[in-house]
Symmetry: C2
Subunit: 417 residues, 2 copies
C-alpha cells in the first residue's frame, strides 16, 4: 500500500471516527486493507469500500469534497444503491458535523474562484453546458430539457413529463398569441420553441453557452420558427426591452447570491405593470452553500436560494407573488429517469470522456436524487405579476382543466420541433 | 360656520392643495361653503363634499386618519361609489405623498398604544371581535366566517364560497380522520367545526375573544362535536402540545411585526417533522403599516406582512413551503357581499351602535374592497410542512378534482352545524 498510515491502530481509530460521523445512517464502512466500521446490523443501505488509509484520512478532513473525489477516482467503491446511500447520509449527518475548519476553507476558496462576474459566468456555464450535445442526447429527453419535469400523473414518461412541464409553465404565465416573452437562460431552446409554437408568442431567449445557442438556432430553423424566436448568446444582465412575460427556468440557482440584486434589476426593467413572470429554480429551506464537491466538479458558482431570498427579489419591485409551487419530488423522479438512461449509455460516455467523468456524473445524478428525496433541496415555481396585471385567472382551475389538457396532449405528441 | 378659517382665499388655496394631493384620480372635491377643486372633467369617480374649512385643513394635515374621522362624523359626504372612490385614491396617491410629519407621528402613536402584548392583544381583539354577535349575524354568512371566502366558480353565493374556502383549506392540509389539529385564532369556530365534522379530525382551537369562544362552544354542543372540538379562550402564545396540522386563518395580520418571532416559536413547537401547516393572511407586496385610520378605529395593532416576512417564519424552522396562493380578488368579492348585506341592515346597525358606527364600518368595508382591488393588499394562503412530511400529494390535482368537489358539495349544503 502506498499510503502514509501503515500503523493499524490509527487506521482503526480513523475508521471508527468516520463511522461515528455517518451515524445513525445504516451505512457500513469497510477499509479494504483492514477493518470495518459504521452500521453493523442487518440490511445496511449500502457498504462503502475504502481502498486505502490515505483516502480514509482525507474523508475525515473534508467528507463533502473528498467523498466525490475518491468515488470519481475509484478510491471508493459503493456496494448497494448509490442514491439511497447519499440520501441516508443527507438525512443522518447534520450540516454542522460536515463543517470542519478545512472544509470551510475549501468552500470559501471555491466561492472566490468561481465568482459569477460576466466573465466568470461564461467560464462557469461553459464548463457544464458546453459539453458535446451528443453527450446530453444520450440521457436527456429528445428535446434536451435539462430541468425538473412535471409528472402530472404517474403514468407519464420523461418525454411526456417534460412537455407537460413546458405547458404548465405556459399556462401558469397565461401566454396569449401575439404576446412577447423574454427568457433568461434558455438551455437548448426547447421552452422558447414550445411557447412560440403552441402559444403563438414571440420569444427572445438569452444564454451564454455557445453550444446550446448553436443547437437552439438549428432547431428554430428546422421548426420554421425563425420569425418568432430569437436566440441571443449573451448574459441575462444584458437583457433589454419590456415584455409581456418574463420566464427563467433553471437559471436562478446559477446566478449566485452576490448577484441576486442584478437579477432583480433585470426582472424589474423587463416587466410592464401588466406583465407576468415565472421563476423555476432549485431552492432550499434554509440558506446554505451548494455542496462543495458539486460546485468544484459540476456546477461552479451555483447557489440554490431559499424561497425567502427569491421572494426578496419581488418585494422592492412591488411585484405581486401569485403562486408558488414546490415540485421537489418531481425533480427526484426526473433525475431517476436521467440516471437510468445515463447508466444505459455509460460505456459510450466512458469512450467520450473517460472513466472518471462517468463516475463523477453518476455521483452527481445520484446525489441530486438524494438531495430532492431527502428535502435537502427543493424545486420552486414562482409566478408573479406587475401591480396592474389583470390576466391571471382568480382560481387555478385553468391549470387543472383536464378536458383542455387532453386536447393539448394530442397536439404535444406531434409537435416535436 | 364654526371653523377658524373664514378667509376665503385661504380656503381656496387649501382646497386646491388637497386637489393636487389626490391627482390624477378622477375625484371631484367640493367645499360646501365655497368652491370646487380636483378633477373637473366628465364622469368623475365620485364627488367628495367637505362640509367645513376646518375639516379641509385637517385633511391636508393627515389625510389617512382625517378622511375616516370626517366621513364617520358626517363632516364629509361622498356622492358616488364609495369603494371606487377609495380605490381611485389608492391607485393615484403614492404612499410617500401621504406621509406628512404629522401623519407619521400619529401612526407611531398608534403603534405605541396598540402593542400586542398578552394584555394589549386582549384589548385589541376585544374592541373588534367582542361586538355583539347579533351585529355580525346581520351581514356575515350563516356560519359567521369572517375571513376571505373562496369563489371556486363565478356562480357561488357567499355561503357556498365560505364552505368552499373551508374545504379548500382542509384539502390543502390533507386532513385525515383521527388526526389532531391546532387552530390559532378561530373566530366563531366555523372552521374548527367543519374540519371535525367533514374530515374526522380532533381540533384544539384558540381565541382570546370571549364572545366568539362562547358562541363557538354553543355551536359545538348543537352539532354534538364536543368529543372532537375543544375551544380554548387563550392567547396563541400559550398553545402547547404537538399536532398533525397547524392552521391559522386570518390571525397573522393581527399578530404584529414585533411578535412574528413569537408566532414562529409557536408554529415550531406545535409541529412534528411529519406535520403540515397553513397560514391564511392579509399581506402586502412591500412592507407598510396598516392604514392608520383602520388601526385607530377598526383593527388596533394590525400589520399585514409581506410574503417574504411570512416565509421568514418558516426558514429558521427548516419547514418546507409547499404552496402559496394569492387570493386577493376573492377578498374583494367577499367584502362586496358583506358591504351589500351591511347596507341592507344599516338601519338596524344604527339602532344598535349609532350613526357614526355605521359610517365607520361602511368606510372600513368599502376601503377594504378598494385595498384588495387596487393591489394595495394581498391575500395569501401558505402551505408548509415539516422536513419529513410525506402526506401532501406531489401535484395539486387533488385540489381541483371536480368529481370529489361535487360529492362534497352535496354534503356541505346539509352540514350546517
Amino acid at each position: 500500500m502506498d499510503h502514509p498510515l501503515e500503523f493499524r491502530p490509527i487506521q482503526k481509530w480513523l475508521l471508527r471516527k468516520l463511522g461515528d460521523g455517518v451515524a445513525p445512517a445504516r451505512i457500513r464502512l469497510q477499509l479494504a486493507t483492514d477493518g470495518e466500521a459504521g452500521y453493523t446490523g442487518d440490511a445496511p443501505v449500502a457498504t462503502v469500500l475504502i481502498r486505502d488509509a490515505s483516502t480514509l484520512a482525507r474523508l475525515i478532513l473534508n467528507l463533502e469534497i473528498e467523498f466525490g473525489e475518491a468515488y470519481a477516482e475509484g478510491r471508493i467503491e459503493v456496494e448497494g444503491d448509490l442514491p439511497a446511500l447519499v440520501e441516508a447520509a443527507f438525512r443522518a449527518i447534520p450540516r454542522k458535523r460536515m463543517d470542519t475548519r478545512y472544509s470551510k476553507l475549501a468552500s470559501r476558496w471555491l466561492q472566490w474562484t468561481q465568482q459569477n462576474s460576466l466573465h466568470g459566468s461564461r467560464q462557469n456555464i461553459h464548463r457544464h453546458y458546453d459539453l458535446n450535445v451528443d453527450f446530453y442526447k444520450l440521457w436527456l429527453d429528445s428535446r434536451l430539457v435539462y430541468t425538473c419535469a412535471y409528472f402530472a400523473n404517474d403514468a407519464m414518461t420523461l418525454e411526456e413529463a417534460q412537455l407537460s412541464k413546458m405547458d404548465y409553465v405556459c399556462r401558469k404565465l397565461q401566454l396569449r398569441p401575439g404576446e412577447t416573452v423574454v427568457e433568461a437562460g434558455c438551455g437548448w431552446g426547447a421552452l422558447a420553441l414550445y411557447m412560440a409554437q403552441n402559444y403563438g408568442v414571440s420569444v427572445k431567449a438569452f444564454n451564454i453557452s455557445s453550444e446550446q445557442i448553436a443547437f437552439a438556432r438549428q432547431q428554430t430553423k428546422l421548426a420554421g420558427l425563425g420569425d418568432r424566436v430569437e436566440f441571443i448568446q449573451d448574459d441575462y444582465r444584458n437583457i433589454s426591452g419590456q415584455y409581456d412575460a418574463f420566464v427563467s427556468v433553471g437559471m436562478l440557482e446559477h446566478v449566485g447570491k452576490a448577484h441576486h440584486d442584478e437579477m432583480k434589476r433585470v426582472i424589474g426593467r423587463s416587466m410592464k405593470k401588466s406583465s407576468r413572470g415565472l421563476l423555476h429554480f432549485i431552492g432550499r429551506n434554509q440558506p446554505q452553500q451548494l455542496n462543495a464537491w458539486i460546485r468544484k466538479r459540476i456546477f461552479p458558482g451555483g447557489y440554490p436560494p431559499t424561497l425567502r431570498e427569491a421572494v426578496g427579489l419581488m418585494e422592492p419591485l412591488n411585484l405581486s407573488v401569485l403562486d408558488v409551487e414546490n415540485l421537489r419530488m418531481h425533480y427526484a423522479w426526473t433525475l431517476e429517469h436521467w440516471l437510468a438512461r445515463f447508466e444505459q449509455s455509460a460505456d459510450r460516455v466512458e469512450e467520450m470522456f473517460g472513466r472518471e467523468f462517468v463516475r463523477q456524473w453518476r455521483l452527481y445524478l445520484a446525489g441530486s436524487i438524494a438531495g430532492f428525496r431527502s428535502g435537502s433541496m427543493q424545486l420552486f415555481q414562482l409566478v408573479f405579476a406587475g401591480s396592474e396585471c389583470q390576466s391571471i385567472p382568480s382560481t387555478r382551475n385553468h391549470l387543472y382543466d383536464n378536458q383542455r389538457s387532453r386536447e393539448k396532449g394530442l397536439k404535444w405528441m406531434h409537435a416535436t420541433p
